[in-house]
Symmetry: C2
């Protein structure tokens, strides 16, 4: 059987080298398995220190920012952000599904203003230009989703806004490109796409925001408290954190975030080039906003999509079905995806088009 | 090297058979590893359904109770319980460290009344008898910790109270004895002691409580929403849930909760018998409240404790150091601990006493 590629949107493919390492660690006749080792051990102290140091180096995190490893994924942060920042007003960029989820959750705690909203222009998803963005009078922060996984819409707000008020959900493009941390109050990301397995979120937060948290903030999600407790106020998700540490080490070893960006651009280009040269495949995102990690496309006619998925599956190309809210095809190409994973899929697409 | 036993309080020893199974699953040349498989797959649907069914059978959970698998451990529930139950008043039994933590967190959301408080009587930790318990006028619930891990104080409130208002943190004695679910509004437990690894909490909640949640309840911890979403409102901690499923299967195969109770009693007796026959070791808990899962003892003189820990470690008896708040020695004997784990430790204790 030829190689299998997993294009699932997350939980997703791990770097094969990390998977091997975890397997080796688990197979080892340790006195105590990594699955049984506590969070108050020398072994885990090392993991906590190293993962923190690696993340700071990978993203050039300034010293006055805390780096937290919290349970519950990015979705817990949709509530934690307005709670911790004590927001009365907050601006949200709406670039798709996750933006709306974040806005809905934040609306429990703060007045949510839409700063700009994605729209269909000539069949392409487009965000209005910065001149048309609106701000509320005194927003506690400006929230954006760096990459919408459902449609593959990327938005690097930090290239446009420099007031230090940004809050970013970077889950699906975390560590795939540099980001200017200093322009943010908070950056957060679920680990299960580019930084490990599910069950863990990484939160980078400006310590100057501390002190504003509302009284009803659950302690588990109080950034200041978790910073003071080294993210171990509670029993952390030990194994998920350990895998995250392994992925961060791998990311550093492989050349860091700029190298990840180079690889991501190369992988994505292989697919977008194929789509743009084709009469069968169509991507609905404005060219300047195309995602490097989630390449979404539809087939014309859409009836061919189920055959596409079936034949792809037969060839070991898995996890390509689009989200139930969009249909279509989606190839998720996170940091763990080898370059040939995109090349093989592009070849299959060209071959399928010939036969279709 | 002879067998190693891990008496850590959690994350703790897994049943050796489960550890082997997980190792096998991870070593298998699956097309996609269990570490990379998503929560919207047939594989995971099976895990979710089987773990739910097993848990319902193991604890005889009535049909009008939801069984949830949530991220964040038991500590997240210290906030989630008052938030979901919309409590204005709640009664808390204070039997030690975790009781106080639960009370402190609940006090953000509700008026907390102390129903009864542990105290030192003639050198033994004792809870006043039921006749001396006090209730607030209309408590939304009555909270207790089934087993305090630091001191090994067990409290089965459901043997005394039958008003259906109980809420229990059973983290450290979950699945170690039957419990009358119908006397509870909520039962919750972190998985990392008797039901798997860290990163997951199991919540059993009476559906009749739905509708009372406060507006500021984070969606991730909204019991009604998570019940509707089959605990997959967000990306769940997939791997932790998978390990939990393996442990629940093992628990069922081994004979269920009554068999676990028999084994726990046998393991604990091996140590308490040794302590009671000794002039060196002392347990500070009233006999009727002694824990079957955390056997705590001090040495007289306490100066011997560091030598005890060192020599135990040399013989492969690990994780025996008491909590930093108590000092002393603590042997945690959860469901994953083989019977000989207690026998070997008792033998070491007798031998140490002879030499001390």
């Amino acid at each position: 059987m030829s190689a299998v590629y997993n294009y699932a949107p997350g939980p997703a493919m791990l770097p094969p080298a990390v998977l091997e390492e975890v397997r080796r660690d688990l197979a080892e006749p340790l006195p105590v398995s990594v699955l049984e080792t506590g969070h108050r051990t020398d072994w885990f102290d090392e993991i906590a220190a190293r993962s923190q140091a690696n993340l700071r180096r990978l993203l050039d995190v300034p010293d006055d920012y805390a780096v937290l490893f919290l349970p519950g994924g990015a979705r817990a942060q949709y509530a934690a952000v307005p709670l911790n920042l004590g927001a009365e007003d907050a601006d949200y960029f709406n670039t798709g599904h996750w933006s709306v989820c974040a806005m809905d959750e934040a609306a429990r705690y703060t007045r949510v203003h839409a700063a700009a909203e994605i729209a269909d222009h000539d069949g392409l998803l487009t965000l209005p230009p910065p001149a048309q963005w609106s701000n509320s009078r005194r927003p506690a922060y400006r929230h954006y989703v760096g990459n919408e996984t459902l449609t593959g819409f990327a938005f690097a707000a930090d290239r446009h806004l420099d007031d230090g008020l940004l809050v970013a959900d970077l889950t699906s493009n975390f560590l795939t490109a540099p980001v200017d941390v200093s322009r943010h109050r908070v950056i957060y990301a679920g680990a299960q796409k580019n930084a490990g397995i599910a069950g863990l979120a990484i939160v980078i937060v400006a310590r100057e925001t501390f002190g504003a948290a509302r009284a009803e903030t659950p302690s588990l999600y109080n950034y200041e408290l978790q910073d003071k407790m080294d993210s171990r106020f509670n029993t952390p998700p030990v194994f998920s954190w350990y895998v995250c540490d392994r992925v961060l080490e791998w990311t550093r070893r492989e050349g860091g975030v700029r190298e990840m960006q180079r690889r991501a651009a190369q992988r994505a280009a292989a697919l977008y080039d194929c789509i743009d040269a084709s009469a069968l495949y169509a991507n609905p995102v404005a060219p300047q906003s195309r995602s490097a990690t989630n390449v979404f496309f539809r087939l014309r006619p859409p009836q061919l999509e189920s055959r596409f998925l079936r034949e792809a599956g037969d060839q070991g190309l898995l996890g390509l079905r689009g989200h139930r809210a969009t249909g279509g095809i989606r190839a998720s190409l996170y940091n763990g995806m080898p370059p040939q994973g995109a090349a093989v899929l592009a070849e299959f697409m060209r071959d399928f088009e010939k036969r279709a």
